[in-house]
Structures are given as structure tokens and as C-alpha cells.
Symmetry: C2
Subunit: 500 residues, 2 copies
């Protein structure tokens, strides 16, 4: 697996499977089809804006300073639909250098007086790694890639931030343990990015969100290092929870102490067609609130059910179209643990569909490249809400997107269950001739209006920053700004992100 993405798409191009037969014509009949955005050949980059003093300051830290076009372009953008569009057309800003420090050099780089964008897997879909600032360098954490320590007794491991999901899992798995964090970006995203953005993996219902897996962190800031968290404490506010989700704007995470679990001996993925969206939500709520939960829980609405069955289980298509919804549950653990927890849900069992979902769980972003090649707009957005407001939020977002885009397919699933609520994850398909920003604005306004969060696990970046005052209040934003002023007085850390 690649650790970086150098083309205008996702991950390893060899893993693209192409669209299922009939998909383009079916989708064209639903939403029309626009002009394909063909990746343009890469033009020469603008020269680095770093002056001699800045270059010397960066180099004096001992970190590797890379001015090559290849390095700079591969750290230029995240992987939102708009990022991919700009990468395909060649109209995107690039960092002025890529700086690769060792752990010991991070602090010195932050005090070199140059703006930095901390960079892990580059999988942000909210503009989190956009190289704003002039000059600005990408602070590539790829050399911080060690499993520092592992305590079997405490069930914790200390991981460095540059480890990708697969690299971290491989190190833990070799010793019989797992982190259990599998977001769709798993192949490329990194431990530091998971912590900096409050990531939630597809198995968060069982293993917990990433912010719940973190026990402690060390962070470098221009004002000095911080050691955060540790044993559960009542010694004042949680500074750990203040730096989790700080998106590189408060500091650079240099190590993360995470909870680990024994590598599961058994993995079972079951699927059903439940009677309706409302019935499925009720079943998930009852399951979650019973306290005996699966690792993965995922309920597709009617439109997502129809689309995913069309793509994965054509024989089941005859059962859809009656309001039925696909429900997938995944159970992982010891044989006894899975046996004890695994339940049957009310619905029509769909043998094989659970495993099919599991095998395709990281395919979405590859499919997006194919859809863009074929002339479609494809983007996702997510939120969470209390159980009692899940349906109103779902309706409001669908309405907002449909009104903004006109002909489109809006699909949604419930996932990431909590006792008091759950996440809603929307996928939107339309003709590539449609504009995404007005739709995103309408959807986010609808989230704010219905009391849902502006993001459940995609973070803030640049894209959500205009809604931060709506999310945490203007006084809340002032608090964030005051914290940044203390740890980053000259504002070199990830300029333009998180704080509006």
C-alpha cells in the first residue's frame, strides 16, 4: 500500500476496480451526466517562496527539507471532491517545501518562524491540509513511524503520529493486539491525523471513537512541549481533550498513547433487510442502549440500500423498492465474546451481504475516482444527532441537498452508535456540471438549524470553519483563539484552519 498519494485521485491506482456494468447508464438516467474532469498533465510548479534565511533556518534544525516538485505536489491538497477537481485541473496552491523532521526536530522546526501544515496521510476532506500562508511548508511526519512501547498489562501502546493505519495495525497485530480503528481512509490516514481530527472508525460502535481510544499524547508547540492526559484525573479541565481535534492549529502531535485490544479471533458480519428506515433506527437504538453492542453497526436508507445492493448483491434487488433498508452488523472478538453478543435483528437475513460490505469497506474513494472520470459529482458529508432528532435531521439535509442540486441521488446511513445518538453519513451523486459549494452550504445550514453537529468525524479544516461560531458560540471561538495565542503566538501552526 502506498503511504502517500501522488496523483489526482485516491491511494493506489492499481486498486481501482472500475464501475460495475450498467452503473453509468443507471446513474445517468437518475441524475444526468456532466463533462468528465480529466486529470491534466502536471505543469511546472511556482518556485518556492522561502527566502534564503527561512531555508537556512529550516535546514539548521537538521530536518530534511525537500523542494522537489514531486514532494510539493503530493502534499498540496487533501482528498475532498473539490480537492480532486482542483488537482485534476492543475489549479491548486502548493507548499513551498516539504519538511521531514525526526521526533527530536519537530520543536525546532516550529520555532524556525515559517508557517507549517502538519501532514500525515493527506486524507482530509475538509481542507485541513490546504497550504495556506505565504510561505508555508508541509510538515511531513512520515519519519515518526515507530511503535514506541506496548504494555500488555495496561492494554496501551505508544504510537508515533506518522504511522498509517495499516502500519500501526501491522506492528500491533504482530504482538497479538489491535487498535480497532478502521475509518474509510484507513489505508492512508495516520495516527496523528486520527487524533488531530477526532476520527471515528467504521467499528467505533464497539471499539470507540479515536478520541475515546487516546489515553495520553505528547504535543510540540512553538511555546514548548506538552504532555497531556494519563490516568483518569480530576485535576482540572481535560487539556488532552483540548488538543484532540485541534487539527494542527495548537501543536504537532509527537506521540499518542492508545488503548489496544486483543486481536480478534473471530469476525462475523451479518446483514438483513429491515422493514423500514424508521424500524431499522429503532432496532439500532435498542441494541446500543442494551449495552451489549457489535463493533460495526450500519443501516442504509432506502436510496443507499437500492444503490449498494445494485452494486453488490444483484439477486437481492428484487426485494428492494418496498421501503426496505440494509442493516449490517459486525462482531469481532474472542469466540466467547462474539457468541455472547451476536444477536439476530428483525428482518430478512441477507447471507453474504455482511461479508461483501466488509470486503469493500475501503473501496468508496476508489469508486469516486471512477465516477469523476465518468462525469459525475460525488461527495459525502456527515453529522451526528440525538436519537430523537435523527429523522428530522435526515429529512432536513436531504431536502437541502435536493433543493440545491436539483437532480441528484442522496444516500445516507446511520453508523457510529452512542447511547444518546448516532451519526448520519450522506453520499451525494449528481452530474459533474452541478456546483458542490452551494449544496454543502445548504446542508450545513440545515445541520445547524436542526441542532446536529456540523461534523461527526471529518473535522473542521477550512470548509467548516465558517460554522464554528454556530457550533460552539462566538465566546467558544474566543476561547479557542486564546488557547492558540498561548501555544502559537506568531500563528505558524496550520494557518486558516479550525478557527474562523
Amino acid at each position: 500500500m502506498p503511504t502517500t498519494m501522488v496523483h489526482a485521485g485516491w491511494g493506489d491506482p492499481a486498486r481501482r476496480k472500475g464501475l460495475p456494468s450498467g452503473a453509468v447508464s443507471w446513474l445517468t438516467s437518475r441524475v444526468g451526466r456532466g463533462t468528465p474532469s480529466v486529470p491534466a498533465p502536471l505543469a511546472d510548479l511556482p518556485p518556492s517562496r522561502l527566502d534564503a534565511d527561512q531555508l537556512a533556518a529550516l535546514r539548521s534544525t537538521g530536518a530534511d527539507v525537500d523542494l522537489s516538485d514531486e514532494a510539493r505536489v503530493s502534499r498540496a491538497a487533501g482528498r475532498s471532491y473539490l480537492d480532486l477537481l482542483s488537482l485534476r485541473t492543475g489549479a491548486f496552491p502548493v507548499p513551498d517545501a516539504v519538511v521531514r523532521p525526526t521526533a527530536d526536530q519537530v520543536g525546532a522546526v516550529l520555532r524556525a518562524g515559517v508557517s507549517v501544515v502538519p501532514f500525515g496521510g493527506g486524507t482530509s476532506v475538509v481542507g485541513g491540509v490546504a497550504p495556506l500562508g505565504s510561505p508555508v511548508v508541509a510538515l511531513d511526519l512520515c519519519r515518526l513511524d515507530r511503535l514506541v512501547s506496548l504494555s500488555e498489562q495496561d492494554r496501551t501502546a505508544v504510537l508515533e503520529p506518522g504511522l498509517t493505519g495499516p502500519a500501526a495495525e501491522a506492528l500491533l497485530n504482530a504482538r497479538g493486539w489491535t487498535l480497532g480503528h478502521f475509518p474509510q481512509s484507513f489505508e492512508l490516514a495516520t495516527i496523528g491525523g486520527f487524533a488531530a481530527t477526532r476520527s471515528a472508525g467504521q467499528a467505533s460502535t464497539g471499539y470507540g471513537r479515536f478520541d475515546a481510544l487516546v489515553v495520553a499524547m505528547t504535543v510540540e508547540t512553538p511555546a514548548g512541549p506538552l504532555s497531556l492526559g494519563g490516568p483518569p484525573s480530576a485535576a482540572g479541565p481535560s487539556l488532552l481533550q483540548l488538543f484532540l481535534g485541534s487539527e494542527g492549529a495548537f501543536g504537532v502531535i509527537t506521540s499518542v498513547t492508545v488503548r489496544i485490544k486483543p486481536l480478534p479471533a473471530v469476525r462475523r458480519y451479518d446483514a438483513w433487510l429491515v422493514r423500514s428506515w424508521e424500524d431499522g433506527i429503532r432496532q439500532l437504538r435498542e441494541l446500543e442502549q442494551s449495552g451489549v453492542v457489535p463493533e460495526v453497526a450500519r443501516l442504509s436508507d432506502v436510496d443507499e440500500t437500492a444503490t449498494s445492493l445494485r452494486l453488490s448483491a444483484p439477486r437481492a434487488v428484487r426485494m428492494i423498492g418496498r421501503g426496505r433498508c440494509l442493516l449490517v452488523l459486525g462482531w469481532e472478538g474472542s469466540p466467547a465474546s462474539v457468541r455472547r453478543r451476536r444477536v439476530r435483528m428483525r428482518g430478512i437475513p441477507l447471507p453474504g451481504a455482511g461479508e461483501k460490505w466488509e470486503h469493500g469497506r475501503y473501496d468508496g474513494p476508489y469508486l469516486r475516482d471512477d465516477l469523476m472520470d465518468a462525469g459525475f459529482l460525488v461527495e459525502t458529508l456527515e453529522t451526528s444527532a440525538s436519537w430523537s432528532s435523527l429523522l428530522p435531521v435526515w429529512t432536513a439535509v436531504r431536502t437541502a441537498l435536493t433543493e440545491a442540486l436539483g437532480e441528484c441521488v442522496v444516500m445516507c446511513h446511520v453508523s457510529h452508535l452512542y447511547p444518546h445518538g448516532a451519526s448520519l453519513y450522506f453520499t451525494v451523486l449528481a452530474s459533474a456540471d452541478r456546483e458542490w459549494p452551494p449544496a454543502k452550504k445548504a446542508a450545513t445550514d440545515a445541520l445547524v438549524a436542526t441542532g446536529a453537529t456540523i461534523t461527526h468525524h471529518h473535522a473542521v479544516g477550512t470548509d467548516h470553519a465558517p460554522w464554528m461560531s454556530a457550533e460552539v458560540g462566538s465566546l467558544g471561538v474566543e476561547v479557542l483563539r486564546a488557547v492558540k495565542q498561548v501555544v502559537d503566538p506568531s500563528g505558524v501552526l496550520n494557518p486558516g484552519k479550525l478557527i474562523p
Copy 2:
């Protein structure tokens, strides 16, 4: 039950049971016996230092402003051993008034320009309610005592901060629900205090620490109101977790949205004598890490086992003195849930001892009054640490206390289990002629030196503030100070607490 404490002791004096027969002579033989501190008759209080303008400003908010001696003395101190000593000798500062706002008036009181100590149950044992500042008023939240709303679907309730533990439980129980938060201070402590101090109840192993039960809060600050938390979110740092544990120094909590659970139909408390302290800790760790946990888990060390059996189960005393330790587990829930989870531990079952513990679970502070009357020093301190450092921390604290106090009994129990560690709760008995502050300093230094937290659930207040830099680093303290500067620019909120 009383909602306030007006004498120099704990709670309702009628609930004092007196010391078990033989306790005084046994304890005297172990630690000697000092001069009893007899509560002095209450002298006239110094006059209120509020000037006419300040009084007018407070009264103009519409809040009740009480200048009576009775009100002022009952809001003068928390309930640490040193608090009780000073209350008994009459040498204690008092607030200049007690102000009782409605929810709508809290913000105006904070903008009246007078320092305030937010006051709930007054059960702080770390100086959290000491009336520092001149002048300073106690901001008594007793009128904010409503269950605002309850959502059965979301399993959440909105509670006002002035509700005591029993009052909140009564309101929830009447509708079939429980909060499940039962700290030893339960009878008197309040919802606002639980949130402001990151309280942990005796059943936190099952129900969770209070900070894990809080889903959202509203807070009034001199700079305006904040609405914190809500559905799980990746929209930046957790401001909710920044105000949880802020001990009235960042704002006054005006409502708390908490997770609730169905009122348990079954409560089972089991007890065993396990082979050794080390074996008991291992068994608790394995139980916690199995993921199938009891609500209450509590393992006493040899000294605490000997003392508590002497006081509660004399027939079992013959079995002690061989390194055996008392282990209590409590299971609460539906019959199916308790049946599914309840396990036997390795050890000698002690029928009745679990229930005895449950019935006496709130007796400790009453017993302390009796011990002080009899001429003994009695104080507690608590911490948490990773499983792998629990024994070294235990040894270091025992050594520090014993070296500082000379003849003393140091008892300890493990409770509040987490996958990565647990709490250690120490109770110290010595002659009243001994000085507590040097012992407390030695013990806290030992906590810092062994990497344990300076407090697991007693909070910071004044007593732990000198160690805050050791706990969160000097930069961490600067961050807290910057946050306070934004929300409380003139420093009226609980002066002298939390931040050194």
C-alpha cells in the same frame, strides 16, 4: 436529609452512629490518641465587607442576598479534615454574603463586579469553596433545582446544578430512571459540583465517571453564556471537557445534560476474601479488561481489610492477618443483565459483607466526626494510575505518609476501574496531635514522582493547586490561565482555586 450543613461536621448529626465498641482502645493502641477538638460555640462573625454599591449591584440582579450569620457560616468551608478543624476552633474566613439567584439571574450576578464562590453542597475536601477574595460572596445555587427535561428515547436528562444527589435521584427514579452517580458525598453534593469537579461515584466502574455521564452543559460566565457539548462531534477541541472540572473558575454551570439508565430492578453486592493484595488487583484488572464489568468494584488492602472487618464483620476477623484482602463487587441492572455479568471471584466468599458495605457506603464522613471527637486525625486522599504502576504508587504513598506522620494507620482500596488503570483511595488515621499538611505534601510529592495523578476525583481547589504545574506542565497552566482571562477577565470567579 439536609441540603446544607450548618454545624462543624458532616450532614445530619442524627445519622451519626458512634464508634463501634473497642474501636477507640484498638486505635489508641495503634497510633496513640491526641487532644479532641471540641466544636467551639459560634462567635459573632466579622461584618460583611460589601460596600453599599456592591450590595446594591447584587440586589439589583433580583437575586436573594442573605447577610445573616447563619447563612454565611454555613457557606464558609468545605469538609476536609482541616476545614473541620478550623470550623471546630472558630478560626475560619466567611463569605460576605450568600447570594441565591434563579437560573435567569446567574449571569447578572457574575457581572455585578463582586467575586463569587459557586456553592452547591459544600462538600469539597480540597478547599474548593474557601471564600478567598475580599469581598467575596457565596453563590448558592440551591434555587436551580429542577429536572428540566428527560428524554426516554435519548436516555438523557437535563438537570439543574443545585439538585443534590438524592434530589436528582428522586426526580429520576419517579420516572423509572437513575443517574447511577453515588459518591460518598452523595447525600449533600450537587449536580453542578459533580460536573465542576469531575466527580467519580462508587459505582463508576459500571455507570462511568461523572465527566463521562455528561453529554452537554450550559455555563454562565462574566463574558456571556456558553452552550457546550451535544451529539458526538469532530468540530474541534472539546470545550465541554474544558469546562468539566473547571471548579467554578471558568463559569457557573447552569444546566447539565446527563446520560441516564433504567432504574435497576436488581442490586447484588458480593464479597470475598482474596489471597493477597496483588492477587486481588490482578483479578480486578482481568475482570475490567474482559469488558463485562460490575457497577461497583472495590478491593481493600490488608490494613483496610483488617479495620473494616473489625468494624463490620467481627466473625470474619479470624480469617484476616494472613495477607488476605476484602473484595466487594456490586451488580445493578435488569435481572438478565445482572445474571449475564455476575461472576465468582477466586477467594473465600463472605456472605453478607457486600450488603454490609452497601448499607454503610455513606457512613465514612459521619465516622470521621466521631473519630475527631475522640482525638484522632482522619483524612483521605486519592489518585489513579496505570495497572502496571498501581503497586509502586501504593508503596510510595504509604511510605511517604508513614514517614511524615510516624505512628499511623494507612488504609487503601482500589476502586473505579478503567481498562488502563484504576484509582487508589487512601484513608489515614493518626493521633490528633499530628500535623496533616506535611503528610499531605509528602504523599502528593510521591504521587507526582511515580507518575500518578494528583487527584482522581477530589479535584484541585486550593490544596492541590501547588502541584498543577507538575500535573499539566507550566505551559498547560498558561493555557488554563488564558482561557480564564477570556471568560472571566476581571477574575471574579472562585478566586484562588484551580490555577496556581
